[in-house]
Amino acid sequence: MVQIVISSGGPGALAQWVLLELQGQLEPRRSGALGGSVLGDLHYTHEGVPVLIVGHHILYGKVVQLEKPFAVLVKQGAKEPGAEEPGAEEPGAAGPDVSYTVTALIKTKLLFKTRPKPIITNVPKKV
């Protein structure tokens, strides 16, 4: 039987991350890897409303305390000769050396559910 251990890493408190939940999918402006690209600016109003400016859109969201927090798991251990697909992992398909570490906990999410408002510009202001 497969036994995959999920351990909570070394001593010390776990990092607290935040989840950003956006509608739809993201498409990079430039084709190629997403790594290194800018997503946008995240502001908060004085009332604590998160405001996200992504590309030509402005999104208003809300801070939600998660009833069921998430653990962020990072896979450890030997990779299979044929590399697995990133994203959804099937526990049953893991090799014998695979384990996971909890790298962080997420107790808060910023939920952006409203339709993005487009930012209409004529010419981007040169800085």
Binding site: I6, W17, V38, L42, I58
Partner: protein
């Protein structure tokens, strides 16, 4: 990296008034490994978060053909992948408005790198541990006593606690608890279930001794049992049978057992019933009462989950039907019960579905879901919701 000036320019283009905003901005970009898919999200049930924060580990268990489960040290959860049409981005070092207000730092740009993203996560739901396999494994090679030929030449596997943890989809505590429930015993480091005949042999020794010594059933002394029976059977086995069929207590520094009347009567009934397909009910009740120790009273309700009475046959009959021999899954269990008997009354069926109840679930809920209710001769009966072929009883 974006500068404050660029951020302000964007705000101006977006026609957002900076005065309405907190001074700190998070400039979000994707980290170098963000798209690698190395991170995934596990949604935590209450209690699990605290366990993880305390440093406990979790284990995912499953054979290739089984649905995976996740086990903490004392609970088991079904695992599923939940898809969402939204994008979930995980951001380290991102602060909430409360944190920003509390922390009066001087900087006003935080460059945050998105560590990863996903549109699914692992979802957990508390479930019953899958313990039927445990009994099945131990029954492959039951212990028949030190003289048993089988044990010495046995090619069947024997299982340690570690072995069981790698074979059973349940948490360690649930496994250890179930081992106690089924009266398993560690013999030479391996968990064993006693062969029923051997178990009855041991029980019989104890009952005969109680009778010949005229002890009260509520006060059976351990020491004397071991002295008197030690020449017949290993002392650990004598102690094991007393622990299985009695409640241990101390009196004046000595160990005594209060014998379980119900459990003893039940075992003797099983011994009688396993010898035939079915019995004439009244004949059985007579023989049964005569077979139990003096001072014990037999009652049909002691046989719940062990035997079933057929009140529709003439004469009335009784036959062995052990709940632990029935399927573990809800639908399969009900199918099996309805193929044995078409219509069940609630008192008859309840002992055979009690173990299916999840935490805080009742048998009534299960009956509503898996059975159809009707009236027969003024009595409420349950039958299958769909046509079931009749099971042929051996």
């Amino acid at each position: 990296m974006r500068s404050r000036a660029e951020v302000d320019a964007t705000l101006q283009t977006a026609k957002v008034n900076p005065a309405e905003l907190l001074p700190v901005v998070h400039c979000l970009s994707f980290g170098p490994q963000a798209a690698a898919g190395e991170c995934c999200l596990l949604q935590l049930e209450p209690g699990l978060c605290a366990e993880i924060e305390a440093g406990c580990s979790l284990v995912i268990r499953g054979e290739k053909d089984e649905q995976a489960v996740l086990c903490s040290k004392d609970k088991t959860y079904d695992m599923k992948i939940a898809d969402t049409s939204n994008m979930l981005l995980f951001v380290p070092g991102c602060k909430t408005p409360e944190q920003l207000n509390a922390d009066q730092a001087s900087c006003n740009i935080i460059h945050s790198q998105i560590a990863g993203f996903s549109n699914n996560y692992w979802e957990l739901r508390r479930c019953r541990p899958k313990l039927k396999k445990l009994r099945k494994l131990l029954m492959q090679n039951p212990y028949g006593g030190p003289d048993s030929q089988k044990d010495q030449a046995s090619t069947f596997s024997k299982y340690t606690t570690e072995d069981l943890l790698s074979l059973i989809q349940a948490s360690e505590e649930e496994i250890l608890h179930h081992l106690q429930v089924i009266d398993a015993r560690k013999i030479e480091g391996y968990w064993r279930i006693l062969e029923f005949d051997y178990e009855m042999k041991l029980l019989n020794h104890v009952i005969q001794l109680i009778d010949s010594e005229s002890w009260s059933l509520k006060k059976v002394p351990l020491r004397t049992c071991l002295e008197e029976l030690g020449s017949l059977e290993p002392t650990e086995m004598i102690e094991h049978i007393l622990l299985s069929y009695g409640r241990k207590y101390f009196d004046d520094g000595e160990v005594y057992f209060e014998m379980h009347e119900d459990k003893i009567c039940r075992a003797i009934a099983q011994m009688l019933l396993q010898n035939a397909v079915k019995f004439n009910l009244s004949e059985f009740q007579e023989v049964w009462q005569q077979s139990v120790p003096e001072g014990m009273t037999t009652r049909l309700d002691q046989l719940q989950g062990l035997a079933l009475v057929d009140r529709s046959s003439r004469p009335e009959t009784i036959f062995l039907l052990k709940v632990e021999d029935l399927p573990e899954g809800n639908q399969e269990r009900f199918n099996s019960l309805f193929s044995i008997r078409e219509k069940w009354t609630e008192p008859d069926i309840t002992p055979y579905i009690q173990d299916l109840c999840a935490e805080k679930q009742t048998t009534g809920v299960l009956l509503t879901k898996y059975a159809r209710c009707s009236m027969q001769n003024g009595v409420k009966v349950y039958n299958s919701r769909r046509p079931i072929s009749k099971q042929i009883l051996f």
